[in-house]
């Protein structure tokens, strides 16, 4: 029976020990307040404590039983039990030390090895405290004394031991009071836990690092006790959602109440899949409602970290990362792409109504409004109402800017976003808005309009304003495109209008001339009648009718002006006296430009003809003049037209190299207006580029000018500076002018050029009904070495030419003569000798422009009065020009 009793006692003691250890552990366990600490506490420590506790108590029981039994039955089985104890003690994997007052009385094999001695004697008088780290000695002494007094054994503790070779080891010690060799002593179990402690230290460090990392990332951490359905979270998790940290008990319900309804299903499914074990990690992007009402985007990741043996998940832990910014950027990108797609697939009228819902959705707002500043100073309003609310205006509603609600005006003026998180009454909208953001749409610093989203359930934040502003950067180019196309459309309409006016003007001119014809004709007849009836020639009726005749002349000029205005394209170019074109243009401008602008002309006489379309040259002049007029509109100024000749290779600083080898005329239009900066100058000829206010110009003017000049093989150079006025130089090659690139002369030296130009000995027929003029012309030309036949009768001259068509190299003829005019002479020459060059002598305005292109023989014009130099140069140029065509017989004849 004693064996059975011993066994029962031992088992009882073991159970008791186990209970004590468990109680101690539980007390310690529940004293742990920090969840994370609990979370990360190593389970093996607990197990270890339990084991040590059990072993200590059981052993104590055994020893106690042994001593009792020895007292009771000293002899019985002494050897047997001694052997058992010895075996247990000696073979224990832990060090076992029996000591009293610091003196070691017994060491088992492990303890001897641990302390580095072969036997007890080898300690050489060293006591137990000598092996204990000085910092732990005091607590260790007190434990020993407490134990020796017979007080309840203190809980196991870690003690640092100083071992041979200066080793410091961590040891878990557990002591109890025993009687050894008849005296009370302390039995101490000692296990080296150095590695465990290090592990624990590492763990603490890595835990700190993790916590630091999470903190730095501002990630939230959550831990779901799935058994008790409790959710705990860290500070960052709470902060992210505007919750107070550690506020009350939470369950996963807390989370699911915060998840946006549109994201919940998907997130729940992802979690379920992970819990089932289908996916290694739970991961979902969800919107969670912040306590202030707005939603944040969260990347929610987690993992089941504990499962029961049957696989039932016990615990799941994970993180929340705020990805709102990234998500919004993604959404913005998507919206941008959809805007682009909408823009490409919508008709112009649909673009904005189609884009607005995208913007409203992107900002989670049921209302959106777009205001676009139109070229006509109006604002076009486009609205979107997700719920299809009734709107008092249709899309495309237009308003004048000044008529807009002050909110919009402020946005346009200040160009700053405005967030309003309170009720807002906007006059153009049917009902008050609960809250709104309005941002300007800007491009290159220019206001193009404004964009508003409104009525979201939650307040708008700066981030929303930023998101909306980023959307405007995608809208701006679309707005610009639209405005540009509207401007272009306007220009097209303008062009069509001009064409219509032109057609109308043509028709009107025809009929109107018939009417004028009747008025002119009959008033003249009536005047003659009146004169015949009146006794004196200056009679009243005749005077009045004379005024009617004059009025008719003015009517005729008016018709011509309308025609000039409406005329755009001319069929062909022909020799034109640019001076005369300028005269016409100035005459027209005189009547239209206000008196604050002074018109000046500085026209060199006798400039050579240019192969040109006079209507187009007129248009060039009128376009330039119109620009100058606008530049001087406010302050007035002087508009100057100049015409001068520029010889080939004269190194004129402004003549471009491409035409420097040609004889040119320079048509210069100068104003004293506001001028242009370099940026404007650089874009001067861009079609549709205009700096003018709406209604003042199409922007086509200068590109047309450029086109016309180019079509005349000329060049235009515009010089300007801000507040310094503008000068346009138009260089046009003259007919038959020197082309030094093609000239036969081997060099371009001045001497060679001069000799090429002097054509002495040419035979000239000089015809004018005024004998004084023919005498003068003959004298001048003969002085230059020409042979001159001067005639005063046109019919006689014609007979001369018919009789000997090749007797002359050049014909100089007055335009207005009795019998045959200069033009009739020209017509006759065309039949008799088409290649004979003709120089016409004219008054200022008496050669109709259209006569030029009918008479290719006219190679030059001499305007009365002319001096010797002009006559000489004109003759020289015409004869030189006559050398150019292959049929230039005039030149050939003169040199043969």
């Amino acid at each position: 029976m004693p064996g059975t009793l011993r066994f029962v006692l031992a088992v009882s003691a073991t159970i008791l020990g186990f209970c004590i250890a468990d109680a101690a552990i539980d007390a310690r366990f529940f004293s742990t307040k920090n969840f994370t600490d609990e979370l990360l506490r190593p389970d093996h420590r607990e197990l270890y404590f339990r084991a040590v506790g059990c072993a200590a108590i059981a052993l104590a029981g055994f020893i106690w039983q042994g001593f009792r039994r020895r007292r009771r039955d000293a002899v019985e089985a002494k050897n047997e039990s001694d052997k058992l104890y010895r075996d247990v003690v000696e073979n224990s994997p832990d060090s076992i030390i029996v000591h009293r007052g610091g003196t070691m009385l017994y060491l088992n094999k492990v303890a001897l090895a641990y302390l580095g001695v072969p036997n007890l004697e080898a300690l050489g008088g060293k006591s137990l405290p000598d092996f204990i780290h000085p910092d732990d000695r005091e607590s260790s002494n007190s434990r020993r004394e407490t134990t020796l007094r017979g007080a309840p054994p203190p809980p196991p503790a870690t003690v640092r031991l100083l071992l041979p070779n200066d080793q410091t080891r961590d040891a878990m010690v557990s002591s109890s009071r025993i009687v050894f060799e008849g005296e009370p002593a302390v039995l101490t179990f000692c296990r080296d836990v150095t590695d465990d402690v290090a592990t624990r230290r590492d763990l603490a460090a890595s835990r700190e690092r993790l916590s630091l990392a999470l903190e730095a990332a501002q990630d939230g951490v959550w831990d779901w006790d799935m058994v008790n359905d409790r959710l705990v979270y860290n500070r960052a998790w709470a902060r992210m959602l505007g919750l107070k940290p550690f506020s009350g008990e939470h369950t996963p319900e807390t989370w699911s109440n915060l998840v946006h309804k549109d994201d919940k299903k998907e997130a729940m499914e992802a979690a379920a899949a992970h819990i089932r074990g289908d996916v290694p990690v739970f991961e979902a992007e969800v919107r969670l409602r912040h306590t202030d009402g707005h939603y944040i985007w969260v990347l929610d990741r987690g993992k089941v970290v504990e499962r029961a043996a049957d696989g039932t998940p016990m615990r799941m832990t994970g993180t929340h990362r705020d990805i709102t910014a990234r998500k919004e950027a993604e959404i913005a990108l998507e919206v941008r792409n959809r805007i682009a797609e909408t823009f490409l697939t919508s008709t112009p009228d649909e673009v904005f109504p189609n884009i607005l819902p995208l913007i409203g959705t992107a900002l989670k707002s049921p209302q959106a409004l777009l205001g676009t500043l139109e070229p006509n100073q109006k604002v076009k309003i486009t609205t979107y109402d997700r719920d299809g609310g009734e709107s008092p205006f249709v899309n495309g509603h237009q308003s004048r800017l000044e008529g807009l609600p002050s909110l919009f005006k402020k946005i346009v003026a200040d160009r700053q976003p405005q967030i309003t998180n309170e009720e807002l009454i906007v006059a153009v909208l049917p009902r008050p808005l609960s809250r709104a953001i309005t941002v300007p749409i800007l491009s290159k610093g220019k206001s193009l309009g404004f964009l508003m989203v409104a009525d979201r359930g939650s307040n708008y934040a700066q981030a929303d304003a930023a998101a909306l502003t980023s959307l405007t950067t995608y809208l701006a180019p679309i707005l610009e495109f639209h405005m540009e196309s509207e401007v272009k459309e306007g220009q097209l309409r303008q062009a069509q209008k001009m064409e219509a006016i032109g057609a109308l003007a043509g028709g009107i001119a025809h009929d109107f001339n018939n009417i004028l014809q009747a008025i002119l004709g009959f008033s003249t007849l009536a005047r003659e009648e009146a004169q015949a009836m009146d006794s004196q020639p200056g009679g009243l009726i005749a005077n009045d009718l004379e005024r009617v005749t004059r009025a008719t002349q003015r009517g005729r000029e008016l018709v011509n002006r309308i025609l000039l205005f409406s005329r755009r394209q001319e069929e062909e170019q022909h020799p034109v006296d640019i001076a005369q074109v300028i005269e016409e243009a100035v005459g027209l401008l005189d009547n239209t430009i206000p008196a604050t602008i002074e018109l000046r002309k500085n026209l060199e006489t006798g400039t050579r003809l240019v192969n040109a379309d006079p209507a187009q040259i007129s248009q060039v002049l009128l376009n330039l003049a119109t620009n100058s007029f606008h530049a001087m509109e406010e302050n007035g100024g002087v508009l100057t037209f100049e015409l001068k000749s520029i010889e080939a290779n004269s190194n004129h600083p402004l003549v471009p190299d491409s035409i420097a080898h040609l004889d040119l005329v320079a048509l210069v239009v100068t104003d004293t207006g506001m001028g242009m900066d370099e940026a404007t100058l650089a874009r001067l000829y861009d079609p549709f580029f205009t700096t003018k206010d709406v209604g003042k110009g199409t922007g086509l003017g200068l590109s047309v000018v450029h086109g016309i000049v180019a079509a005349h093989r000329g060049e235009i150079i515009v010089e300007s500076a801000v507040e310094r006025g503008t000068t346009a130089h138009i260089f046009l090659p003259v007919i038959g002018g020197l082309d030094t690139e093609q000239a036969a002369s081997p060099t371009n030296s001045q001497g060679a050029v001069s000799s090429a130009r002097i054509m002495p000995g040419s035979r000239i027929l000089f015809l004018d009904d005024e004998p004084d003029i023919t005498a003068l012309g003959k004298a001048l030309l003969e002085k230059q070495g020409h042979q001159v036949l001067a005639l005063n009768d046109s019919r006689l001259a014609l007979e001369h030419l018919r009789g000997a068509p090749h007797d002359f190299d050049l014909l100089i003829s007055d335009l207005t003569m009795p019998h045959l005019t200069g033009l009739q002479i020209a017509d006759q020459i065309a039949l008799i000798r088409p290649d004979l060059p003709l120089v016409l002598i004219t008054g200022l305005n008496d050669l109709p422009m259209e006569e030029y292109h009918k008479h290719p023989q006219i190679r030059g014009v001499l305007r009365k009065p002319f001096g010797g130099d002009v006559l000489r140069e004109t003759v020289r140029d015409v004869l030189h020009g006559g050398e150019r065509p292959p049929t230039g017989e005039g030149r050939a004849a003169s040199s043969s």
């Binding site: 043509g506 014809q517 008719t552 005729r556 005329r567 259209e850």
Partner: protein, 124 residues
């Protein structure tokens, strides 16, 4: 007494020409358009034809061509009321008229003096 045929669709111009020329002693006959003019001329050839260019049915150019074919030496004055779309057409017409043998091509409005001078020159 020189006979002048006026071919002109515009009644005011026609009346003016009739008045002016009759007062200056010419025998005048008038037609509304080129076709009628050519018919009148065939019945009773005139010494001078004054014809408008832009007319319905048969324009001045055709008229001149027709008349000149049978009467190459016929004196013709072409007159025109100016431009009409396509642009510049009548100016070209006047030019064409001259090429076709019109002795004068005069844009309206024409002064009485100029017209009479032209008529006198052509009729000698």
């Amino acid at each position: 007494m020189s006979r002048i045929l006026i071919i002109e669709d515009d009644s005011l111009t026609r009346e003016w020409l009739e008045s002016l020329l009759e007062r200056n002693g010419y025998v005048v006959e008038s037609a509304n358009n080129g076709a009628e003019g050519v018919r009148l001329f065939r019945d009773n050839p005139a010494d001078l034809v004054i014809t408008d260019i832009v007319m319905p049915e048969k324009d001045g150019i055709e008229t001149i061509t027709d008349l000149k074919r049978t009467h190459p030496d016929l004196k013709v004055i072409a007159i025109s009321g100016g431009e009409r779309r396509p642009e510049g057409v009548s100016r070209n017409y006047l030019h064409s008229a001259k090429l076709l043998g019109a002795n004068r091509a005069m844009p309206k409005p024409i002064s009485n003096e100029d017209l009479l001078e032209a008529v006198r020159e052509l009729l000698g």
